[in-house]
Amino acid sequence: MDTNRLTKLSDTAWQIEPRRDMRVPAVIYADEALIRDMDDKVFEQAANVAALPGIVNAAYAMPDAHWGYGFPIGGVAAFDAEQGGVVSAGGVGFDISCGVRCLLTGLHRDAVEAVKTTLADALYYQIPVGVGSTGAIALDLHEMDAMLHGGAHWAVERGYGSDRDLDRIEEGGCMAGAEPKAVSAKAKHRQRQQIGTLGSGNHYLEVQEVTAVHDEEAARAFGLAAGDMVISIHCGSRGLGHQIGTEYLKRMLAAAGTAGIRLPDRELACAPIRSAVGQEYLGAMRAAINSALANRQVITHLVRGVFRRLLPDAGLELLFDVSHNTCKLERHRVDGVERELYVHRKGATRAFGPNHPDLPEAFRAAGQPVLIGGSMGTASHILAGTAASESLSFASACHGAGRRMSRRQASKSWHGRQVVDELAARGILIRSPSPRGVAEEAPGAYKDVDAVVEAAHRAGLARKVARLEPVVCIKG
């Protein structure tokens, strides 16, 4: 992206001035190098989002922003229902409530190294992964609706985890306002055997080592110390979310026309929040959030089973579970006035600062854990929400590195076997059903996650707490 098209607000904040139909400016948080590397489509898409009715303050793009569908991936936008604001299926994405969950093991590297190969094989065997895989739980319609209402609570009530887990999940493990009736029979059918499955693409389960701690106090609050081993799970609402996204995208295309909303891009399909379609989507999307929370809870149970057998000393307490494809009704202060806003985060992580009332007591002083995923050979990061991010980005931060290379380019640049062997030589074990899938997700296909996190830290969106490096990666 050409920086001459932007107004430089600071070393890490760049503004697209309102033009044509834009109702508010768009702000991109990134350093100059990341901006120059950013796709021009991010400019176009952020400007398009800024033209939607009822948008508040600005459309925001995080340091990992890249070309998405309608909204950029790494995009944040808040809408006010009282000002004709909209909700957009494209602003949430197909993989509703895709997110990251991190578990603390209480173990150090040497304990894992002693059983690393067995552990990698056991995790790969126990956790359904890849195209066509199914979970052990088949849900009938009654159980499906109970799951869509209950989220992680549903899973815990059925023995997949404990009540202690729930306090460490966004929304306490259950998204209020879920409406299973707004979820089609097709979406439910698509999900019938997908609870407890990882999926494919950029989804993964990793055993990781804490290789650096940047903020000792926050790390202590999060239960992290250098040399600790943790487990990160990255996946979402599976087929149910994909089907809801597909169906409501089309319904919203018609709804936008009915409401007289001009769409510069059909993928921006949206409906007024105060409309039947808008309300039904919110109910269905919240049900999909619960599906994602239940999914990650069941996978956690499977992980605990493997560790109980191979590393019985592991604690496997939940650090936190946070989603990065959502639309949530939140209270934010705008120009000194507290307002209820529908905050879309598409490939962006909620990042509440210290003392936010919705945070678990353990994180009140430090701020919310912000979990940033890597890709096999690259690092992941744990950050903490800041007070400043409230005014910068409606308390939002980045979610990952973002791709720098398409899947086609990646699969032509690497062979899966070569990637697996090179990572094994670095002590990282990969288990995946698909060599091509591994090649498409090769670490080199992604931007430098350290640079993205540094930009988020410098911009004040979140502050660095710990850096994690993978030891075992189960890849879809």
């Binding site: 569908y69 195209v131 895989s133 295309l253 899947r407």
Partner: protein, 145 residues
């Protein structure tokens, strides 16, 4: 750009930042839709590896040819997901805004197909159904994976 040619009909992939673009090219919109569906299969695995076993009927309707195209692809993605199948042969007829088609294939065999990635949905991004200057029809969009 990877492509396969069968007389005048062919499919190809094109790049998108995070995901993948599929394009079908044919003598008619129906043939372009068939070829695009093959490109969809090729996002997951080599269509040549998929044995043509069970035939699944698919139908959808929309007066807008581009929305009909997305509906067709999403119907194929749905059948792939709920049946755990991959398809290597597609047949499409279009009458006005109504599409009737079949997808023929087999159950996913992880060892043989080594499926790379699961399509989540067909998007409206880079969506186009149009006749080119050479008289061939193209049907294309980005698939979210």
């Amino acid at each position: 750009m990877e492509e396969r040619t069968a007389t005048v009909n062919k499919w190809e992939h094109f790049s998108h930042g995070a995901d993948i673009g599929i394009r079908g090219i044919g003598a008619s919109p129906a043939q372009a839709f068939e070829q695009a569906a093959l490109a969809l299969t090729a996002v997951v695995t080599d269509p040549a590896c998929v044995r043509p076993g069970a035939e699944i009927a698919i139908s959808c309707a929309d007066d807008d040819p581009e929305l009909l195209f997305v509906d067709w692809l999403n119907a194929v993605i749905y059948e792939m997901a709920v049946r755990g199948m991959l398809f290597s042969r597609y047949r499409v007829t279009i009458d006005g805004g109504r599409l009737a088609g079949t997808a023929t294939g087999e159950t996913v065999d992880a060892a043989r197909h080594q499926p790379a990635v699961e399509p989540k949905g067909a998007t409206y991004t880079e969506l186009e159904v149009a006749r080119r200057g050479d008289g061939q029809w193209i049907a294309q969009c980005i698939i979210d994976v």
